[in-house]
């Protein structure tokens, strides 16, 4: 029998994996306007998605190296800040990912509620 502590640790680990999977979609969705890293973190937090800073900055770099974001330094403020914005390729991908996400949530809702997309009752299997 799994102990409560082990269960909680496993839950934390799997939840982290789940959240990691949606970070790209969440990030791309919020960068239609250029934002610097910390502003994006606040933006996501205000909408209910907390993301660690140590996770976001490398992610932004990776998305940029994949051509999904573009960035430039802004030195007008009190300190230099790197502003990220979704690229045309990123926008196209965002639309595909959004469609995929919606399909997945529909399927998953059906699975979790015990109903099927194709009108079959999974619980009778």
């Amino acid at each position: 029998m799994m102990k409560e502590k082990e269960l909680q640790e496993l839950n934390a680990k799997l939840t982290q994996e789940l959240r990691r999977g949606i970070l790209v979609l969440a990030t791309l969705s919020q960068l239609k306007e250029a934002k610097y890293g910390y502003a994006l973190i606040n933006n996501l937090a205000e909408r209910g998605l907390d993301i660690e800073q140590g996770t976001l900055y490398p992610l932004l770099r990776r998305l940029e190296s994949q051509g999904l974001l573009q960035s430039e330094w802004n030195v007008e403020g009190s300190r230099p800040r790197r502003y990220y914005e979704i690229s045309p390729a990123g926008s196209s991908l965002l639309e595909l990912l959004k469609a995929e996400w919606r399909d997945l949530t529909t399927v998953l809702d059906g699975l979790l509620d015990g109903t099927s997309m194709r009108g079959e009752n999974n619980e009778s299997d």
Binding site: Y36, Q53, Y57, P80, R81, R82
Partner: protein, 335 residues
């Protein structure tokens, strides 16, 4: 802000050189943003410490900038490295054995076992080291072998070889014999020799006594390998290479024994086998010992030939298996 500067510097030490300074500037800027947001313009050291703890250890933060991880030889290159390492290992062992054999049979060079072992110990790390250097360079330049899109047919999957299963009876027999020999060598070294008829005088074998240390080591190695194989239940890459190494050691010892017996027989005026036989009728003045030693030499010679052949076959199979389907231990039957 000195703590933040120290943190950013430390992260930078572990970052990829390519865009290190760029990442450092962004990291510093983000940390100050976060700090100002929480503590205003005059944060306390405790607040800075708390923020940095949230960010995580510098090495961890730096590592997150390597999306594929940091490797000396990364996962895409590793299967190829393993395949080539196996081929190189087998080739080096084979070449050493061949050089030893050629030296002995053709050039009539005396066998120097220690030299041969040292040669192996030097050449294997040197060859593998060169291979590692080549792969580290490939990794550095992010060379990736083209594997995607290759046509693949499940029907072409190799059959599962039953011969990869360890023969338990064979291993237990080997362990038992090894232990018996070890006990004899350790506790009754003075009794190693031969008698002509039951109850007659024991002629000690001076050549075997000379190499007891090496023989003991070889037996211990063999027993250890057999025990490990019994525990594992299947032959693997490591055990196959270890078995080849054990055989090479046995070959070296058998060479020494044959050579030692020949030298002893030559000293006693019976260098050839038939010379020893000619002395058979004259058994009253110790010549029985000559005949016994000649018999020992013949037995060791036969064992030497069998072990050499077995080893060559093992190396050949190892190389062939590697070339055929990667460095898969399951494709080479045990000896």
């Amino acid at each position: 802000m000195s703590l933040i500067d120290r943190y950013v510097y430390e992260v930078g030490r572990h970052l990829p050189r390519k865009n290190r300074s760029d990442i450092q500037v962004e990291l510093r800027s983000s940390l100050i943003d976060a700090l100002e947001d929480r503590a205003g313009q005059e944060p306390t050291e405790a607040e800075v410490v708390e923020l940095l703890k949230e960010f995580g250890p510098p090495k961890t933060v730096a590592a997150s900038y390597y999306p594929e991880g940091q490797y000396l030889i990364g996962p895409p290159l590793y299967p190829l490295f393993r395949l080539l390492a196996g081929i190189v290992l087998a080739a080096v062992l084979g070449a050493q054995l061949l050089a030893l054999g050629v030296g002995y049979f053709i050039a009539q060079e005396p066998i120097a076992p220690l030299e041969a072992m040292v040669g192996l110990l030097n050449s294997i790390p040197a060859a593998l080291g060169m291979l590692v250097i080549v792969f580290v360079i490939l990794q550095w330049f992010e060379v990736r072998p083209e594997t995607e899109g290759e046509p693949w047919d499940p029907v072409s999957l190799p059959e599962i070889s039953e011969s990869a299963t360890v023969n338990r009876g064979e291993r237990i027999f080997g362990i038992t014999m090894g232990i018996i020999l070890l006990v004899v060598l350790s506790f009754f070294p003075e009794s190693i020799g031969f008698v002509t008829t039951f109850g007659s005088e024991l002629f000690t074998n001076p050549v075997i006594a000379q190499y007891i240390g090496l023989i003991t080591f070889s037996l211990l190695f063999g027993i250890g390998l057999d025990v490990y194989l019994l525990w594992q239940g299947r032959w693997g890459t490591f055990t196959r290479i270890a078995k080849i190494a054990a055989n090479l050691l046995s070959i070296t010892i058998l060479f020494l024994l044959v050579h030692g017996h020949s030298a002893w027989l030559a000293e006693h005026g019976a260098s050839g086998f038939f010379t020893a036989l000619e002395q058979l009728p004259d058994s009253t003045n110790g010549d029985w010992q000559v005949i016994g030693m000649a018999a020992f030499r013949m037995a060791f010679g036969v064992a030497l030939i069998i072990t050499s052949l077995e080893t060559v076959v093992m190396i050949f199979r190892l190389v062939r298996a590697n070339l055929k389907s990667g460095f898969s231990p399951e494709t080479m039957p045990p000896s």
